[in-house]
């Protein structure tokens, strides 16, 4: 893993002289023949690449020593470099003699085949050239012969090429300063169009964007757009951006806009069906719509203003219902596939899985119970309160020090409100309003 990362870093450096870089065991190979003319010869390429690589190796805290070679074939160069001669072979015809000087160890065959070669009296590659290929194939396998053929340019050499990670940054200098965000929208739209085109060509999507509005002599205003579901839809991104703009106040006129992609994701496509009624695809696209809608809501309201509720198996009434931020509850794995029968059957639905008491509970709960007034033996909220039914005794948390000992009653206020009230069983035995049967 570590090695792959380092190789990627180095490949990025080597890319400055070649567009085709491939990975091999403990080696990087780049194609330079096509860039020789541009750089003005192999010496120039060498002079350019060496300091760059040394600097990069030092930056990565690695020993800045490496071997290199150039030849018309990939495997040939590899073998030459392994021998440590820093050799340079221009023509394919010369490869045979150049490689012939190398000891057989450069083939990295392993102990046993090496021993066999040694016993056969083979010390250098040129000794192998003299042997019949058929016999070699029989003794050392076809891979061995293939490797030699590759080195001589007699067999094709497919390679794994290095693909640089995608990066997208675009900046648009405005011809004049803008203070009105609405006037920025067409510019932003154009930039998003570029982005979506970029993503489409690479079959990617994005889930994290950074929009920066640059000001003169001032830090830029940054809009951090993190998407719940990766997208490359221009309309959707535009809608989100507009929502963000709706909340934004500009501290100063904008002189430039920059768009940067912080995170790329693979693009998951789904086909839109023509006759969509209750089909999985239809449901998924509906789900997509929903995600987009939720994202928009979250962008406008802020993360902590959108809540999900769920019931908890807890005796104490105020802890039996919990509120979670919508984003958190997504992470907690809820809402994975709503309405899916499979889930309902296996889990019984999350909400229903938790058994709740059969004694009626009010639809509204007061966050902080409100104390009721007791005057001349009568209970008052705003109007007189009459007990309808009860009590239901709830005693819990005796182990935690903050005892809950209450008698709950259903009551009715004179103006018609249905109340859920309780009386403490300890202390001052006060009456409290705890909920409404709305």
């Amino acid at each position: 893993m570590q090695q792959t990362k380092l190789m990627n870093e180095l490949a990025g450096v080597v890319q400055s002289v070649s567009s085709t870089v491939s990975f091999h065991p403990l080696a990087l190979i780049c194609e330079i023949r096509s860039s020789l003319k541009y750089f003005g010869g192999i010496e120039a390429v060498h002079n350019k690449l060496k300091p760059l690589l040394i600097a990069e190796l030092q930056a990565l805290q690695l020993p800045d020593y490496f071997l290199y070679a150039a030849s018309p074939t990939v495997t040939g160069s590899l073998l030459l470099a392994r021998s440590g001669h820093n050799a340079l072979v221009y023509r394919k015809d010369n490869l045979r003699s150049a490689l012939g000087k190398l000891p057989t160890e450069v083939l990295w065959l392993g102990k046993e085949p090496n021993r066999r070669l040694y016993n056969m009296g083979v010390r250098y590659l040129r000794d192998i050239w003299r042997l019949p290929p058929e016999g070699l194939r029989k003794r050392f396998g076809s891979d061995f012969v293939k490797q030699l053929n590759k080195a001589l340019g007699a067999a094709p050499e497919p390679t794994h090429n290095y693909i640089p990670p995608p990066a997208f940054t675009t900046c648009c200098e405005l011809p004049y300063e803008l203070e009105n965000l609405d006037r920025l929208l067409p510019v932003a739209d154009e930039m998003l169009a570029q982005l979506c085109e970029f993503l489409r060509r690479r079959d990617l999507s994005t889930s994290h964007l950074l929009f920066s509005l640059l000001h003169e002599k001032r830090d830029s205003t940054e809009i951090d757009m993190a998407l719940r579901q990766a997208s490359r839809s221009r309309e959707h991104l535009m809608l989100l951006l507009e929502t963000h703009f709706g909340k934004l106040t500009l501290p100063a006129p904008v002189i430039a806009v920059r768009l940067e992609v912080k995170r790329f994701d693979a693009f998951m496509s789904h086909s839109d069906s023509l006759l969509a009624e209750d089909k999985p695809t239809a449901r998924r696209s509906q789900r997509n719509n929903l995600d987009q809608f939720m994202e928009q809501l979250q962008a406008r309201l802020g993360d902590h203003y959108l809540k999900c509720i769920s019931s908890v198996a807890e005796h104490c009434p105020e802890y039996a219902s919990q509120q979670l931020d919508y984003g958190e509850s997504i992470k907690a794995g809820r809402h994975a596939e709503p309405n899916s029968l499979v889930r309902k059957n296996t889990e019984g639905g999350r909400g229903a899985a938790i058994r709740v008491t059969s004694i009626p509970r009010p639809l509204w709960l007061l966050q902080d119970p409100q104390q009721l007034v007791l005057k001349n033996g009568k209970l008052y909220h705003r109007k007189p309160v009459a007990i309808v039914s009860g009590p239901e005794r709830i005693e819990t948390f005796w182990w935690s020090g903050t005892d809950v000992r209450r008698d709950y009653y259903v009551a009715r206020e004179a103006n018609g409100s249905r109340l859920w009230v309780y009386r403490e069983r300890s202390g001052d035995r006060n009456w409290y309003l705890h909920g409404y049967f709305a």
């Binding site: 809608f293 939720m294 809540k307 509120q323 509204w364 007061l366 018609g416 709305a438």
Partner: protein, 234 residues
């Protein structure tokens, strides 16, 4: 489109004379919810969604809640059974796989009570109470416009007619029902239905009963009142 017939004869009497040859037209007119005739209140078809309360169905045009649009529920104070009235509707919305959005409710919606009523809380989303009015209305409009929300509940006491009209249009585009809970009635509201819940205990009724008045309903021409047993479903 509203069409009122000037003569007040009951349709049963005239049907066998002039309308016999235009039975099909009659049928077409009958099925169109946008068209109502002042004379035949009872036979307006069943285009509404049942409220779950037969007595309330009887006095609502189309025998139930409309498919989309705004409803206002007016109560002098909270806790009059205003939510209980919507429980069957909420249940059907959740069963359809749609979401219910509660916008700035005055108190915490209590999950155990919803579970008791048979509503899956996974499909309920609450916008917190301290959201600014502007943001609340914005979310309401957006929610009404998407087809994923089946029901949007909001607690706003006073809103100008212009805003209500805009929300009404949003509800029509998204084919969604929006419900406003408020304390005071406003006469010229463009909402489809205005309901008032009154306390009926003073008249010797039981705890679970409430008196519901349809102050206004599109397709209805005079206020009607009925007694509803709120807890018949639980």
């Amino acid at each position: 489109m509203t069409l009122t017939r000037s003569h007040t004869n009951p349709p049963e009497l005239t049907a066998d004379k002039g309308y016999s040859h235009s039975g099909e037209i009659e049928e077409l007119l009958h099925d169109n919810p946008n068209l109502w005739r002042g004379c035949d209140m009872a036979g307006q078809g069943f285009y509404g969604r049942s409220t779950g309360f037969p007595r309330l169905d009887d006095i609502l045009p189309g025998r139930g809640w409309p498919q989309n649009g705004l409803i206002e529920i007016i109560t002098p104070c909270w806790g009059m059974g205003e939510l209980q009235l919507l429980i069957p509707l909420m249940r059907s919305v959740v069963e359809q796989g749609k979401w219910i959005l509660w916008i700035a409710p005055p108190y915490l919606p209590y999950a155990p009570a919803l579970v008791q009523a048979g509503i899956d809380t996974d499909q309920i989303l609450v916008v917190k109470r301290d959201t600014s009015c502007k943001d609340a209305l914005w979310s309401m409009e957006k929610a009404l416009q998407t087809s994923n929300c089946g029901l949007v509940l909001a607690w706003q006491n006073w809103l100008p007619g212009k805003v209500l009209r805009r929300l009404q249009l949003a509800a029509e585009t998204g084919d969604t029902l929006g419900v406003f809970f408020k304390h005071h009635d406003s006469k010229y509201s463009p909402s489809l239905i205005r309901l008032q819940i009154k306390d009926s205990a003073s008249q010797g009724r039981t705890f679970s009963e409430a008196e519901v008045t349809v102050i206004k309903a599109r397709g209805n021409f005079r206020p009607l009142t009925t007694q509803v047993d709120l807890y018949q479903h639980t």
